[in-house]
């Protein structure tokens, strides 16, 4: 199955042998195909085409030449009298012999895989114009959830495959990113909740990517070891091809804006209780004859992204090269925000001999920008949400340059944005070098080492006089990250008889990660308006170094029969430095089976149902801890009057920490109908995460805050479908439809002993996510309004109003009630591509059903009286519901007839500490959105005949153009706690998500 062509010398010289040579090209683009195997049927003589697609072989006139290449339909041609045989290979009709890149960069036939994978092609990524590759996957990949941290310039995105499998609120639940066989960092070095820091995979230039394969379960990723326990995203970058040098140039320019904004009321102006006062509130008198302002409309502007990339590639028989230079700049939708990225990449291969091959690449990236501070209880969006409607927010400066405000407890959003921000600047080098030695026709050795090194220099500045920093403050932070990976493996591949094929792989890997994080915080500025860390009176330096090593050995055996049944067994042992010596070695196995039953049934050429495959797998992955988690430490405190103190750290780790385990069982199938015109892939996976390493929050009265130990079990059940249909396929007109649907249900099966619940982000006091046994990750708890809960009562489900006629909540202070779940019931996407002559039109809708989110700033719009919901005021209302005329123990309900006044006080009280979720911004965030729509026009070849241009296209693309949701607020997709956090469902505090329209041009020459 692993098609490794071999060079063999002709063993017998026959009299009639002639030399046959020719060129093999692809029917797709008429480009030469290097590496095509040309075999004399029935003999062991095989040659390969060179980088220009040229082959030469000695054969007799009666020989049959078999031309085969992965992903192409093999052709058999009788030599006859031809000494020159040019062959055009056609791609296999539809994915029948599709090849995917799996672990360690190994290409495998998709039919052989016993687990679910999904491949995203370069064109699908380029189509979206997304500068962050993760965003390009939105709505496309089944079982994959992408959450962007919002519309800030360079904002990070989070990717999660099949639900969270950790009880740890800060655990990394994201898949491992692997570029050309070597893992790279996708860390989001989250500064704090005030910024939407970039995830590091965003550094990758999307135009360098050839394919992205998502390995969804643990079986898929066992060969990368513990770091791939959450799946893996395998990126293969473009490489040079033999022949003439090829150039390509791509450029796009965008218009970004904030389309979805909460509604405001403009009936009442600034003031309190109906009277004008220059307060933070908009509870003032009826607006008559004075202008009103919508702060949200006035604050956001049109942002722009300009992306340019240039590639240059080529090569000859023994060497290929690929270079790219890309630059993107972004001007954000809020003032004072920008982001930029420059990537330079060089990659090459060198064939030193028939047996020895080298490859290497180096990618330098500089990225970073500037973004204003946001947050839960202060920040740009917080202040914007509180702005009133009768004051022009654009008029915010006094003649002396100081801030003009109408009330001391609020800050003007423009002024704040210009005076509280983060700058960051990342310099990164990703490189690798590999060598492959083909010892015999069945045995290959491969070694590859890679480096990922970046530094991130950050400055957080808060001007003197801001509410958050009356005396001014600044932090300078220097992060450095170093990852070195070394992978060695030997692979044997041998055919036994006609039908049996055995592949065996053993390997060794070493991973070294070390990081430093040095930060200097200065407070109490000497002089205002000086953005220098030298300008402060009091300093507090901190450093957080990390270091870890992982050593692994692994083996992988695949046996296949007749290209029909494939069985695979793997095993890996890891040694991690982060676990106690007695527990740091751990072994984990996997096995999978794939059966193409249509082969057995002889349905291969059946016009209705021509391909059916069933697959099953079981896999385990172990996972280590973060560095320095074990035992007790003490830290020194900042000096106080010349005396520094020492304290015991509030986090303690178990001395007998064990590796955690993820066990996955997966069943699936792939079915092709109508000669591959329709394909369906279905998958069901059960993932159990046990013995998790959890920072268990323990009572402060234990003397600690956090105990790091093995505890708890989560099970995730995932169901995924992928459907593609090739509705029309003529040379003139093509129409494809693809759809995906997935559902993941998590369940907490057990909790750490002595711990009844773990709260996610409890600093948001109104509603909380709590994990407890029997619950689901993402469960929301809060205080709903009291309702009749007595199925026998005619009033069942109705509100219980209090003596004053208002809705009421429970009085038990420590109670919490389950009120919803942050994870969607299901998500899906439907896309379509139409080709007509040179035009390509494509669109993609994404769907999310369910998923309750907590809109944090809604409380600001409510209590300050700016939100459209508060326009209904100064009225007596009889709430629909019942009142209790009996006792608390023996209630007697009668319909409510007590009128209650709806006024400022009502809206304020409804938001008093931890009251009902109905009012606190807790909403269903189901949506349908037009994720992507694109129209491209490929210039006719005849126009370009006389020019040096080979092909050229123009495109217009829209991302996130249309959104339909019951949610009132900004686009509910943007997560409040950034790409690095597991807390989903908190929204509304960051720079909101944008819609974008791009115009682009793409030229190849």
């Amino acid at each position: 199955m692993l098609l490794w062509g071999t060079f063999m010398l002709a063993t017998q010289a026959l009299a009639q042998q002639i030399s046959v040579s020719g060129k093999v090209t692809s029917s797709d683009d008429l480009m030469p195909i290097p590496g095509v195997s040309v075999k004399i049927k029935g003999s062991s003589t095989v040659v390969q085409t060179n980088t220009n697609g040229i082959y030469s072989i000695k054969a007799t006139s009666s020989d049959v030449l078999v031309f085969s290449y992965i992903g192409m339909v093999a052709q058999e041609i009788v030599v006859g009298s031809n000494s020159n045989l040019n062959v055009v290979l056609k791609p296999t009709a539809n994915n029948l012999n599709e090849v995917v890149v799996t672990a360690l960069g190994v290409k495998q036939q998709k039919r052989a895989l016993g687990y679910a994978t999904q491949e995203i092609k370069a064109a699908d990524i380029a189509n979206t114009n997304q500068s962050n590759v993760i965003n390009a996957l939105k709505g496309k990949a089944s079982g994959v959830q992408i959450t962007s941290a919002g519309g800030a310039a360079g904002s990070g995105s989070r990717i999660q495959i099949r639900g969270i499998n950790s009880l740890n609120p800060s655990a990394n639940n994201q898949p491992l990113f692997v570029v050309d066989g070597i893992p790279i960092s996708n860390n989001t070095d989250q500064l704090n909740d005030n910024f939407q820091n970039t995830n590091r995979a965003a550094d990758i230039n999307p135009d360098d990517i050839e394919t992205m394969t998502i390995l969804k379960g643990p079986a898929a990723s066992v060969l990368y070891g513990l770091r791939a326990a959450n799946g893996a995203v395998i990126i293969t970058t473009k490489s040079g091809k033999g022949g003439k040098p090829a150039f390509s140039f791509k450029s796009s320019y965008s218009f970004d804006d904030v389309a979805t904004k909460p509604a405001i009321q403009t009936a009442y102006g600034n003031g309190n209780n109906g009277a004008y006062v220059p307060t933070v509130n908009t509870w003032g008198p009826k607006i008559e004859g004075i202008p009103t302002y919508n702060p949200y409309d006035l604050f956001f502007k049109t942002g722009h992204q300009a992306q340019n990339s240039f590639t240059f590639s080529g090569g000859n028989e023994s060497a290929t090269y690929f270079t790219s230079i890309a630059n993107s700049t972004q001007d954000g939708v809020v003032p004072n925000s920008d982001y930029g990225k420059t990537s330079i990449k060089l990659a090459g291969t060198l064939k030193a001999s028939d047996k020895l091959k080298f490859e290497g690449s180096a990618n330098y990236i500089n990225s970073g920008g500037k973004n204003p501070r946001t947050g839960v209880s202060s920040g740009t969006i917080y202040y914007l949400m509180r702005s009133t409607n009768t004051v022009d927010p654009r008029d915010y400066l006094n003649p002396d340059g100081s801030e003009k405000t109408y009330n001391a407890s609020i800050q003007n959003p423009f002024y704040f944005t210009e005076n509280a921000y983060l700058r960051d600047n990342v310099n990164r080098l990703i490189g690798n070098l590999g060598v492959e030695y083909k010892a015999t026709d069945w045995l290959t050795f491969n070694y590859k080492a890679g480096l990922d090194h970046y530094t991130d220099f950050r400055q957080v500045y808060n001007e003197v006089g801001l509410l958050i920093s009356p005396l001014g403050s600044m932090t300078e932070q220097r992060i450095s990250y170093n990852e070195i990976n070394s992978n060695f493996f030997a692979r044997a591949s041998k055919q036994f008889g006609d039908k049996w094929n055995v592949n065996f792989l053993v390997g060794h890997s070493f991973t070294h990660i070390n990081g430093t994080n040095l930060s200097l915080n200065g407070t109490q500025a000497v002089v205002p308006n000086v953005e220098s860390i030298n300008n402060y009176n009091v300093y507090n330096p901190t450093t957080f170094p990390t270091k870890k090593n992982i050593i692994g050995v692994f083996g992988d055996l695949t046996v296949s029969y007749d290209n029909t049944v494939f069985m695979n067994v793997t095993g890996r042992n890891d040694w991690s430095s982060t676990l106690p010596p007695k527990n740091r070695s751990f072994f984990y196995p996997s096995t999978s089976l794939s059966y193409v039953f249509t082969e057995t049934l002889g349905l291969k050429d059946n016009p209705i149902f021509n391909y059916g495959k069933l697959r099953a797998s079981y896999a385990e992955v172990g996972k280590d801890a973060d560095p320095y988690q074990i035992g007790e430490y003490y830290s020194t405190l900042q000096a106080f009057s010349g005396v520094s103190g020492v304290r015991r750290d509030i986090k303690v780790g178990s001395e007998s920490l064990r590796p955690e385990r993820t066990k996955g069982l997966e069943f699936g199938g792939e079915f092709h109908f109508l000669k591959n015109r329709i394909t369906l892939d279905a998958n069901y996976a059960i993932l159990n995460s046990i013995d998790q390493i959890v920072p268990v929050p323990i009572s402060y009265a234990s003397g600690f805050d956090i105990f790091v130990t093995n505890a708890g079990k989560i099970r995730n059940n995932s169901l995924e479908f992928l459907l593609t249909a090739n509705v029309i396929n003529t040379p003139e007109f093509k129409w494809d439809i693809n759809a995906n649907w997935s559902q993941t249900k998590g369940r907490v099966l057990s909790m750490p002993p002595g711990v009844s619940e773990i709260q996610f982000n409890p600093e948001t006091p109104w509603v909380k996510q709590i994990i407890k046994t029997g619950g689901r990750p993402g469960d929301w708890y809060g205080w709903p309004y009291l309702r009749v809960s007595d199925p026998s009562s005619p009033y069942n489900g109705q509100l219980i109003l209090d003596a004053n006629g208002y809705p009421s909540t429970t009085q038990q202070l420590s109670d919490n009630f389950l009120v919803g779940n942050a994870y969607p019931d299901w998500v899906g996407g439907i896309g379509s591509t139409l080709n007509y002559k040179g035009f390509t039109f494509s669109f993609l809708f994404s769907f999310k059903k369910g998923g309750d989110v907590f809109d944090i700033p809604k409380t600001q719009r409510y209590t300050t009286g700016i939100g459209a919901e508060t326009q209904m005021r100064n009225e007596m209302v009889i709430f629909k519901g019942v009142k209790n005329t009996g006792t608390a123990a023996n209630p007697v309900y009668v319909p409510n007839d007590k009128a209650a006044l709806i006024d400022q006080s009502f809206y304020n009280n409804s938001f008093a500490y931890r009251l009902s979720t109905e009012n606190n911004g807790f909403q269903d965030a189901s949506w349908v959105r037009l994720q992507n729509v694109s129209l491209a026009y490929e210039l006719p070849k005849k126009w370009l005949n006389k020019t040096f241009i080979k092909s050229a296209s123009l495109s217009v693309t829209g991302n996130n153009l249309w959104l339909s949701t019951p949610f009132n607020g900004f686009d509910p997709e943007a997560s409040a706690y950034g790409a690095g956090s597991n807390s989903v469902g908190y929204v509304g505090t960051g720079i909101p998500s944008t819609r974008s329209v791009y115009v682009g041009v793409n030229v190849n020459f």
Partner: protein, 474 residues
């Protein structure tokens, strides 16, 4: 290939033994002197934290801006910040220091540790009632300690800590330098005699708290006061003085000029006691300009508690805690136990039996507080001879408790006093419930348990609301 593998295994152990954090200290590297410096800061922070919002309960401060009619209106409040600084920071490190000191033979360290522990625990139980203690601070082997009844905390635990502190501090000072208390004693710089006075003072406070349970404790309190903090100018007061670099938390919280939206303002009740309109009728208290800043207005007016800004009187308030005031200044102290309190304990304990003795202590307490605040001798003399204040020697418990109320401004000990007397209108004349009272029409009796705790500890007692009394006041 074998060579590569063998070499890897050879380097294996070395490559894997790298899991010690170079940026932190091991338990062996931590020492007594470092722990003392830290625990003194944590204790002072706890005594600020308890009052930061808690000061609404004894009605020292009325909520303002985003805090208006909030905690001062009895919106459920769990004192989460003192739960953190006391239970997570101060007490575990104090216990660590006491354990190490007892093992190493450094009785002064353990004595100081016990007195700070006792004061912090007493403050905590006065807020919450039942609390973890006997099963607490045992590390992850007891992740969810049970709650001891407040009765047991008072009768057994606090008693043992305070008696132990007095005994330890009386022991001979060891010869070894590392066992002697030195410069990391941020309060007294290693003067053990001062700590002894503090220890007696802490026990006097303790006996006073229990005096309703058993009047015999009054005599014990009087006896302890005689060995307690005795410097009228406050030189032996237990308080942490903050610095330019590390400003007082009250400065950061209320005092600094950059704070334009203060969360609290001095209350109507408090200011009236001092501006001549309240109980001390017609007497202008010379401490007014020391404690409050009215931006040069002719009079000082406080803010009603639990009031919306639209409520009558709210807009008239003109007094604030600013950097120009004693507690709002950058380098001001956070007091924990003072000379004035000692004298008022004595006065209260004697009032029923020895009116003259009580009167002397009463006047001493007033003078002590005025000296501490920097009131001039002439002003002190005028005030302490005004018949409205002196009642010609014929003072009542009302005078004592109201003067103590003024002297202990911003200290939550006052809330314990007020609850000992159950907000009695004859002791605190003029005191009113918050304008907006979310508990209905009763005064607040306790804290809610902190939000942080129920999810982590199933043993948290369930209390219906903050109107339920704790054992000490039953």
């Amino acid at each position: 290939m074998m060579v590569v593998v063998a070499a890897s295994f050879g380097a294996c152990k070395k490559a894997l033994d790298i899991n010690d954090d170079p940026s932190r200290l091991t338990p062996d590297q931590a020492n007594l002197s470092g722990l003392l410096g830290a625990t003194i800061q944590f204790t002072a922070t706890s005594f600020f934290n308890v009052g930061q919002y808690g000061n609404s309960y004894p009605q020292y401060l009325a909520g303002f801006n985003s805090y208006e009619a909030n905690i001062d209106s009895y919106n459920p409040y769990g004192f989460d910040n003192i739960w953190e600084s006391a239970y997570r920071d101060a007490m575990p490190n104090l216990k660590d220091m006491i354990d190490r000191a007892e093992k190493l033979g450094a009785p002064q360290y353990s004595g100081i540790g016990k007195v700070l522990f006792a004061l912090t625990l007493m403050q905590s139980t006065d807020i919450w009632g039942d609390l973890p203690y006997s099963q607490a601070f045992k590390g992850p082997t007891v992740p969810s300690p049970t709650y001891d009844a407040q009765q047991d905390i008072y009768n057994t635990s606090l008693k043992a800590l305070l008696d132990g502190a007095i005994a330890d501090l009386a022991k001979p000072v060891p010869a070894t330098a590392s066992l002697k208390v030195g410069t990391s004693d941020l309060i007294f710089g290693g003067t053990i005699a001062s700590w002894q006075k503090v220890a007696y003072g802490a026990r006097a406070r303790y006996y006073l708290h229990l005096s309703k349970k058993d009047p015999a404790n009054l005599a014990k309190a009087i006896s302890d006061v005689s060995s307690a903090i005795d410097d009228q100018k406050g030189a032996v007061d237990l308080q942490l003085k903050y610095s330019q670099e590390r400003p007082s938390p009250w400065y950061t919280n209320l005092g600094q000029p950059a704070i334009t939206a203060k969360q609290g303002r001095p209350s109507y009740f408090l200011v009236n006691l001092m501006n001549g309109t309240g109980y001390f009728s017609g007497v202008i208290d010379p401490r007014l300009p020391k404690l409050f800043d009215n931006a040069g207005a002719a009079t000082y007016i406080g803010r009603p508690v639990g009031a919306l800004s639209t409520d009558p009187g709210a807009i008239l308030a003109n007094s604030d805690v600013t950097e120009k005031t004693f507690y709002g200044a950058r380098t001001s102290p956070v007091p924990i136990l003072t000379y004035a309190e000692m004298q008022f304990i004595k006065a209260e304990a004697l009032i029923a039996t020895d009116k003259a003795g009580a009167y002397t202590a009463y006047i001493n307490g007033i003078k002590g507080n005025m000296l501490k605040l920097g009131v001039s001798d002439a002003d002190i003399a005028t005030y302490t001879t005004n018949a409205v204040v002196t009642k010609n020697g014929n003072i009542t418990i009302t005078d004592i408790m109201l003067q103590k109320y003024i002297a202990l401004f911003l200290q939550m000990e006052t809330w314990t006093d007020m609850r000992r007397y159950q907000y009695d209108a004859s002791i605190y004349p003029g005191l009113k419930q918050p304008n907006k009272n979310l508990l209905g029409n009763v005064y607040v009796q306790r804290a809610k348990y902190p939000d942080n705790e129920p999810g982590r500890n199933p043993n948290v007692p369930k209390i219906p609301n903050q109107a339920q009394k704790i054992w000490l006041f039953n």
